[in-house]
């Protein structure tokens, strides 16, 4: 169950560009903890699938790789959100019975 939700949680935070550790903290503060060792490779994989795009920022104290949703990723995020709402509505209806 968690597997599918990680991607959705991640995409929801990437409408603005963020780097790895920033994202880790952001998810943690939203009470959605994820291992650093899971997050970093996942970012790369989502990038290679075209869901995310990245840029290196070399103006700060150390170079950081920023990720954000690509155009394709935005569409994917929207459809994932819809699926999520449909599924949670269905489950909520059933477990309230």
């Amino acid at each position: 169950m968690r597997r599918g939700t990680i991607v959705l949680a991640l995409l929801s935070q990437l409408t603005t560009a963020r780097y790895g550790y920033d994202l880790l903290q952001k998810l943690k503060s939203a009470a959605f903890t994820i291992d650093a060792g899971t997050l970093y490779p996942l970012l790369r994989r989502l990038e290679s699938q075209g869901v995310l795009e990245s840029t290196w920022d070399t103006t700060e104290s150390r170079p950081r790789k920023y990720y954000r949703l690509s155009a394709e990723g935005e569409a994917f995020y929207t459809s994932l959100k819809r699926e999520w709402y449909e599924m949670t509505d269905a489950i909520n209806t059933m477990i309230k019975e």
Binding site: G37, T38, L42, R44
Partner: protein
């Protein structure tokens, strides 16, 4: 710093050359961010962060996205079926071949039986190995999905006929 070098090296050395530098710089920058947020002496902080990232080989596997299994769930059922049939047939053939070839030797009866049984076991192992290699090849081949669909295309007509004795039992 030395520990971070060793860690990023351990993660990236098994990756394809084309990805190494990029993964290395990104991982290093993430580790440095994490180290900054920790408390303690510099060495303690680095150790804490690297320990939390876990075994470098595991991380490397997530980065490479390589399959961590030989035969996946899609092929498993077909693999088991093929394994049973082919290993069964191979064992029988080996039994037959070794029985005929050992009948005319001047070994003791016990010696003959042992040779025949060992021969049959050899045949079974060889068959199991061969079947496994074929399915590993299927699993790894690029056009995996289309090949799978071709081989495993299923229609209602493929349903087995119920053997006569089962039918009788039901009525």
């Amino acid at each position: 710093m030395d520990l971070i070098d060793r860690y990023t090296y351990a993660v990236t050395r098994s990756l394809p050359q084309s990805q190494r530098k990029e993964v290395e710089s990104e991982l290093r920058s993430n580790i440095q961010d994490m180290v900054e947020a920790e408390r303690g002496t510099p060495d303690e902080r680095v150790r804490k962060v690297l320990a939390s990232l876990g075994r470098p080989e595991t991380l490397a596997m997530s980065y490479s996205g390589a399959k961590q299994y030989l035969i996946g769930p899609e092929w498993y059922a077909a693999y088991m079926r093929a394994l049973r049939v082919i290993v069964g047939v191979a064992t029988l053939v080996a039994l037959l071949v070794f029985t005929t070839s050992h009948l005319s030797t001047d070994e003791s009866v016990v010696g003959k039986i042992i040779s025949i049984i060992l021969g049959a076991i050899d045949g079974a192992i060889l068959a199991a190995f061969g079947v496994t290699m074929v399915f590993v090849f299927f699993e790894r081949s690029k056009s995996h999905e289309s090949r799978y669909n071709e081989v495993m295309a299923w229609s209602v007509d493929d349903l087995p006929h119920v053997p006569a004795k089962h039918q009788a039992a039901k009525r």
